[in-house]
């Protein structure tokens, strides 16, 4: 995918650009706000990574300018402090996601993947299907191989999020934010516990593992290999 990285700090920019290249993507780098905005407005990108603090034109202004020019390119915001308000401000300005520096590259990659391939039609689906796993969003029922699976509301939300993002790596932090609305790092294994409970209902009684652990990154749900 084509990704624009707007970042003035050379070290962070290298980290992201080299990482993207190694993953087989095609990154462009802009070291200043005005150049970044110009590129973002003139070329087609699958996603833009913007630093919050930039000389001349800051990240918030870039996102606002981009959005007011009518472009809906997915934007990930990078904030250097664990800013309580930075996240809200970034999302209000029109960014789709945010990440606090320093971050693991796998975290950025997972978020880029989740954003860049989002299909606008998917939101209106009433039935999600991955292989023989089927979720009815209206009736709130889940079936695998035609057998009903009884899920708690939280487990249902977790599975729904994973099914909507089938085949994509979902990090611990992404699950915490999207499923539980936790914007902090818990000191207990909240995610592991819930994923393991879900597995015991969705995977264990059936043949073929759908929820896989990706070491050092997170989890991915897909048709059994």
């Amino acid at each position: 995918m084509k990704v624009l990285v707007i970042e003035d700090d050379a070290s962070t920019a290298d980290y992201v650009v080299i990482g993207l290249k190694e993953e087989g993507h095609d990154p462009d780098h802009a070291a200043s706000g005005p150049i970044g905005l110009e590129l973002a407005c003139t070329r087609d990108y699958d996603a833009v990574v913007v630093d919050r603090m930039l000389p001349a034109l800051d990240g918030l202004s870039i996102v606002r300018a981009l959005r007011s020019s009518g472009r809906d390119t997915p934007v990930i915001f990078l904030t250097s402090v664990s800013g309580l308000d930075d996240r809200v401000e970034g999302l209000e300005a029109g960014a789709d996601d945010y990440l606090v520096k320093p971050f693991a590259f796998s975290e950025l990659m997972a978020r880029l993947n989740a954003l860049a391939r989002r299909s606008p039609l998917r939101r209106e689906e009433t039935v999600l299907k991955v292989g023989d796993l089927e979720m009815n969003l209206i009736a709130r029922t889940v079936k695998r191989e035609g057998r009903d699976i009884d899920l708690q509301p939280r487990e249902f939300r977790l599975l729904e999020y994973m099914m909507r993002n089938r085949g994509r790596v979902l990090t611990r932090t992404m699950l915490l934010e999207r499923v539980w609305d936790f914007h902090f790092d818990p000191k207990t294994n909240v995610v592991e516990t819930h994923v393991s409970r879900l597995r015991s209902k969705v995977d264990k009684p059936f043949a073929g593992e759908m929820i896989r652990t990706v070491r050092g990154s997170g989890y991915v749900l897909n048709v059994p290999a």
């Binding site: 664990s82 800013g83 309580l84 790092d185 207990t188 909240v190 819930h194 409970r197 050092g216």
Partner: protein, 466 residues
């Protein structure tokens, strides 16, 4: 021009302005008195003269020239240095009177008499002798009655004297008022000036680093006291922020040196001689983990600092606390169960608070995680939410080993860890964050004895009723 301190004070300026007003009003009152009294006196004199003249006319009408002559005799007896009269015949010769004939003039006359006229009349001379300027102010009415020309007059110097008395009263009154007001202003301004001086002195000492000092507040409760109280509250807040800042920097220095040193040792150890690829990978993974832990500590410290700064208050909304507790407890039920504990949320009063939902969730999550991580399994963790007047008590209680009384207040300090919990996970920041979030919401977090175990109570104000 350098004024003495008292004269530069606000209260003295006010006193000065009042002095001005007082003097102007004293002069106004006396001035009015002056005009009214002068007019009154003048018209009284004129009325007396007119009445005497009318009396002569009536006497002439009743008794003719003869009758009039009798009255002239009476006039002569009444004549004095204050009362004058003059009767001339048709040819202008003086028949009676105590003033010279040439003063005769028809109609009213009012003015000072010359020296020659005074010298010609003993009564006028006597009147003049009483006056400092040796003159006579002469008020007279001249009319023709029958064959005579009659003039009746008064010494109106008395009018002049009255006016002078009032005028000097004005000067003295104005002067006394001004002096009294100035002295009063000086005295009035001295009290507040002294108090302002005391405040200024304290302020200078605070500027020089005595952050423990507070401005003097008297029991009067006046404007100065309210101002001083507000400034004291501000100072307390600043002192709190400063000391927390100092503590954070010390804590960071102490606490982050250890993981950095460990990180360096590990990298150094693996670098010393060539190793297998697997060993390098393991060392790098360990190094990443170690630095992640240090970064997490940094984040937590920054987050606490940001919460303490209080900027987050602008995003406060009404939060249904019971719903928040239910939601969070639900998330942790299974986590607690996996660790061998039982997590129960009960007695949840329906209460709203003004707050930040995200931070309140973190507060509760930290308390639950603290219990999960420090209570030996199997433990019972109980969350209750009770309304207490206009406050709400959010309690997270466990039946673990608890915290010795002497240490209970310290567990909310940054990076503070009990000896018994050195080996359990955590950075020693979870409860500091709880305290910071509670304080952001106008509340407190306290550790209580749960007999057995620990009960941490977050006491917050309820949202004001809509």
């Amino acid at each position: 021009m350098i004024w003495p301190e008292e004269l530069r004070s606000i209260s003295f300026r006010v006193a000065l302005i009042y002095t001005g007003f007082f003097v102007v009003s004293v002069l106004g009152i006396l001035g009015t008195t002056y005009v009214i009294a002068s007019n009154e006196l003048a018209s009284t004199l004129r009325a007396q003269i007119t009445e005497d003249m009318d009396h002569l006319r009536r006497a002439h009408a009743a008794g003719g020239d003869e009758g009039l002559r009798e009255d002239f005799g009476e006039l002569g007896e009444a004549a004095s240095e204050d009362r004058f009269f003059l009767v001339l015949n048709g040819t202008g010769e003086r028949l009676f009177g105590n003033v010279p004939a040439d003063l005769w003039q028809p109609g009213w006359q009012d003015g000072r008499l010359g020296r020659r006229a005074i010298a010609a009349s003993p009564d006028l001379a006597a009147a003049a002798a009483h006056n400092e300027d040796h003159e006579v102010i002469f008020l007279a009415l001249g009319e023709a009655i029958g064959p005579y020309r009659v003039m009746l007059g008064r010494n109106s110097h008395i009018l002049d004297e009255t006016q002078e008395i009032i005028l000097s009263a004005m000067w003295i009154g104005g002067l006394v008022t001004a002096v009294l007001a100035l002295i009063g202003g000086f005295l009035v301004s001295r009290g507040p000036t002294r108090r302002v001086d005391a405040i200024a002195l304290t302020t200078r000492q605070i500027v020089e680093g005595r952050f423990d000092l507070r401005l003097p507040v008297s029991r009067r409760g006046d404007e100065l006291d309210r101002l001083a109280a507000d400034i004291n509250a501000m100072l307390a807040r600043i002192e709190m922020l400063l000391s927390s800042l100092r503590q954070v920097s010390t804590d960071i220095a102490h606490d982050l040196r250890t993981p950095l040193a460990r990180l360096r040792q590990r990298l150094d150890a693996v670098r010393r001689k060539p190793r297998a690829a697997g060993e390098y990978e393991a060392a790098i993974d360990a190094a990443i983990e170690e630095s992640d832990a240090a970064i997490a500590t940094f984040h937590a410290l920054l987050r606490i600092a940001q919460i303490e700064a209080g900027t987050r208050r602008s995003r406060f909304r009404t939060v249904d606390l019971a719903a928040l507790v239910e939601k969070t407890a639900e998330v942790y039920e299974e986590v607690a169960a996996d660790a061998g504990h039982r997590l129960v949320a009960r007695d949840l009063d329906r209460v709203d608070v003004e707050g930040d939902e995200e931070l309140l969730t973190q507060l509760l999550a930290n308390l639950i995680e603290n219990a999960i991580n420090h209570v030996p399994a199997p433990g019972r963790i109980e969350i209750t939410l009770r309304r207490a007047g206009d406050r709400v008590h959010l309690d997270v209680a466990d039946d673990g080993p608890g915290v010795p009384e002497a240490e209970r207040a310290k567990i909310f300090r940054r990076l503070y860890r009990l000896d018994q919990s050195r080996t359990t996970p955590g950075s020693g920041l979870g409860l500091s964050l709880v305290a910071a979030i509670a304080e952001l919401h106008g509340g407190t977090a306290t550790a209580l004895d749960n007999r057995p175990g620990l009960r941490i109570r977050t006491d917050m104000p309820l949202a004001p009723a809509a």
